[in-house]
């Protein structure tokens, strides 16, 4: 399968603590891959390493944007450059811009695809005006897709929890990614919202052709939508495979439930 993201031998040390140990992972094009593991296993650290928030101690992060067959090394570059290259993410604890409107939040996502500088913004020439209009239009279109169009002018902080999570996805989509990293998108959602999210994520993959790597604790959601699952514990990969393989993997069961006393 064609590769969108390939992570090789990734290790991350915080002082003497090895948070990630020799991790390998790959996401194919148009694939939904889940990363699961107990709390503190290093899943979010893994995301932070990929997106440039932490430079990894060892190992490589390689990406291949749509239409390119060569893999490109991206470790050590700044988070905003990573986003420019087509990797967008959401956060475990929602990090919207609370005092901006819903539309503006999405328009921030358009930022790296726009060009107007200070002079352009002040003079507001025809190209800036056009760009600005397009940004508004595109952002609105994304909100319609995500189902938040009725809240365009609402402050982000006034949205319900589930809507805020969706807005984070909308904002990430606005950066035109080829790979979307979702950090616990269903956390705190009720079963209804989770079902909607399940559909939404599948739609993003099918209609937009965006590959998805997600961290999630909701096993029902993970099992129903992922093509492959990676399991990490204590910063190491302990298993990988299809949902069915993972479900019956004794190592995974042990990591989640612990060992029997007399085993």
């Amino acid at each position: 399968m064609e590769c969108a993201l390939k992570v090789q031998n990734l290790s991350m040390d915080f002082g003497g603590l090895r948070a990630l140990d020799d991790l390998d992972l790959d996401v194919g094009r148009n694939e939904i891959v889940a990363l699961i593991g107990p709390n503190g296993a290093g899943k979010t650290t893994f995301f932070n390493c990929i997106t440039g928030i932490y430079p990894p101690t060892e190992g490589d992060v390689l990406i291949s944007a749509r239409g390119k067959d060569r893999l490109e090394r991206i470790n050590g570059i700044k988070p905003n450059k990573v986003t420019e290259k087509g990797l967008a993410r959401t956060f475990q604890n929602i990090r919207l811009f609370p005092n901006m409107t819903v539309l503006e939040n999405v328009m921030i996502g358009r930022h790296c695809r726009m060009h107007a500088g200070i002079l352009g913004a002040v003079l507001r020439g025809p190209s800036t005006t056009r760009e600005e209009k397009e940004a508004v239009k595109d952002s609105y279109a994304i909100l319609e897709k995500i189902g938040l169009a009725q809240f365009v002018n609402e402050f982000a902080k006034n949205l319900s929890y589930g809507a805020q999570r969706r807005l984070e996805i909308a904002r990430a989509m606005a950066t035109e990614p080829f790979l979307l990293l979702l950090d616990e998108p269903a956390a705190g959602m009720n079963p209804n919202e989770t079902r909607e999210l399940d559909e939404l994520i599948k739609q993003i993959r099918d209609k937009e052709g965006i590959s998805i790597l997600l961290i999630e604790h909701d096993m029902k959601l993970v099992m129903s939508m992922s093509d492959r699952i990676f399991v990490v514990d204590y910063g190491r990969k302990i298993a990988q495979g299809t949902p069915n393989e993972i479900r019956n993997n004794p190592v995974v069961i042990k990591a989640y439930l612990g060992e029997e006393a007399d085993a």
Partner: protein, 411 residues
């Protein structure tokens, strides 16, 4: 309805105030005649005064609480919340256009109806409007708490003073040079503080402001120390030197022009790609970066632009007073400008203008009470922060209209 426990509470408050003020308001020792005066009348006044103030305070606090509840329920039931009055005036064209015309006419004829003294005061208010709008970019929009903003003001003023002293450069040449120098200093300060936020940033910028102040104070060969630089020429009109009176009027119009340009620039930037990036940076730095915004570049543009405006205001200041010395650029100035931004309304242009006019003009017109100036200032700040934390005229985000979407914009 006044309840018994409210009276009890007010009574306790007044008792507490009587106790607090007893040593200074009641007892007076007369060292000449060796007697102690007991001014019981003062005690009664303090008691009655604080009793009533406490009532008013409670009343206002109560007003505030249901107000909050009201807006919350409005959001829940999904009805359109009423717009704040300031906003409604901006929306309503019938009020808005005549008001703008009236203000415009007033600003144009101002120096001809009022005395030179009044015009002079107005010029300083306009300088502070410009400073406020500049700091508004840094603090209000980009959320970078800068306590050393006066340093850039000093850079502009000294740039004109020194360039004129050494090279005879005129005001109109100095204005752009001062602006560029300000931007350079803004970026110079910006680089070391790129990684800092909040309190740390405030401390470092405070230090930077003091460094500039101390350099100007002590480097005699460069800045002529505390004695300052005198005889800075006023701006000339096409090479003609003007009398003091007409040059004051001239500076007034220059300042009006600069303010209009500043308002125009800030207004355009606010709703642009750059302006949104600033606000996003203020709201959440990490998320901002994850959305593809270059943190360093965004911060530096905010610093540079704010510094440019301050520096240009500094050039006009030097030309207006014809004299600069380090005493005009103390930390106190930075704090006043910050107060203008915070009290006016962070991120809001009209708010900052209102803030500058109130904070600069009131002390001038209340010179008779100048002893109580600081007291009034402090009280105003505290009361404002409790009852209107968003400032006089809080910032509003732009509203976009779309087909078929119910928006708050219907007027």
């Amino acid at each position: 309805m006044i309840k018994l426990n409210e009276i009890k509470r007010a009574f306790l408050v007044s008792a507490w105030f009587i106790f607090l003020t007893f040593p200074i308001m009641v007892i007076r020792i007369n060292p000449v005649e060796h007697i102690v005066e007991w001014r019981w009348k003062n005690m009664a006044l303090v008691g009655i005064g604080s009793f009533f103030l406490s009532f008013v305070w409670n009343y206002l606090m109560k007003q505030k609480e249901p107000g909050f509840k009201k807006t919350e329920t409005a959001e829940k039931t999904d009805t359109i919340p009423p717009l704040p009055p300031a906003r409604r005036i901006q929306r309503e064209k019938r009020i808005y256009i005549p008001a703008l015309v009236a203000i415009g006419t007033l600003t144009i004829v101002f120096p001809f109806i009022f005395s030179m003294y009044q015009t002079n005061i107005m010029v300083s208010a306009l300088i502070y409007i410009m400073l406020g709008l500049g700091l508004n970019i840094v603090v209000g929009l980009a959320g970078l708490l800068d306590l050393g903003y006066v340093a850039f003001y000093a850079v502009g003023a000294y740039a004109y003073a020194l360039l004129n002293y050494h090279f005879g450069i005129s005001f109109w040449m100095a204005l752009p040079i001062g602006g560029v120098l300000g931007a350079v200093f803004g970026i110079l300060l910006g680089f070391p503080v790129l990684r800092l936020r909040g309190d740390y940033l405030a401390i470092v910028t405070l230090g930077f402001g003091e460094i500039i102040h101390i350099i100007l104070q002590n480097w005699n060969e460069f800045s002529f120390g505390p004695s300052g630089i005198a005889n800075i020429p006023r701006p000339s009109l096409f090479g003609i030197d003007l009398s003091v009176h007409s040059s004051t009027i001239y500076i007034y119009y220059i300042m009006i022009g600069l303010c209009i340009v500043t308002i125009f620039v800030v207004n355009r930037l606010q709703n642009s790609r750059i302006g949104r990036a600033w606000v996003a940076l203020r709201e959440d730095e990490l998320a901002c970066q994850a959305m593809g915004i270059d943190k360093a570049k965004t911060k530096l543009t905010a610093f540079a632009l704010g510094a440019t405006l301050a520096s240009m205001a500094g050039v006009v200041f030097a030309a207006k007073t014809t004299f600069v010395n380090p005493a005009s650029f103390t930390i106190w100035e930075s704090i006043i400008i910050l107060c203008i931004v915070v009290m006016g309304g962070m991120g809001s242009i009209i708010g900052v203008i209102a803030g500058a006019l109130v904070l600069i003009l009131t002390p001038e017109y209340l010179r008779a009470f100048s002893e109580y100036r600081m007291l009034a200032f402090g009280t105003m700040l505290v009361v404002m922060m409790i009852f209107r934390p968003g400032g006089f005229i809080p910032d509003v985000r732009r509203i976009y209209k779309f087909e078929g979407v119910k928006s708050m914009d219907k007027s």
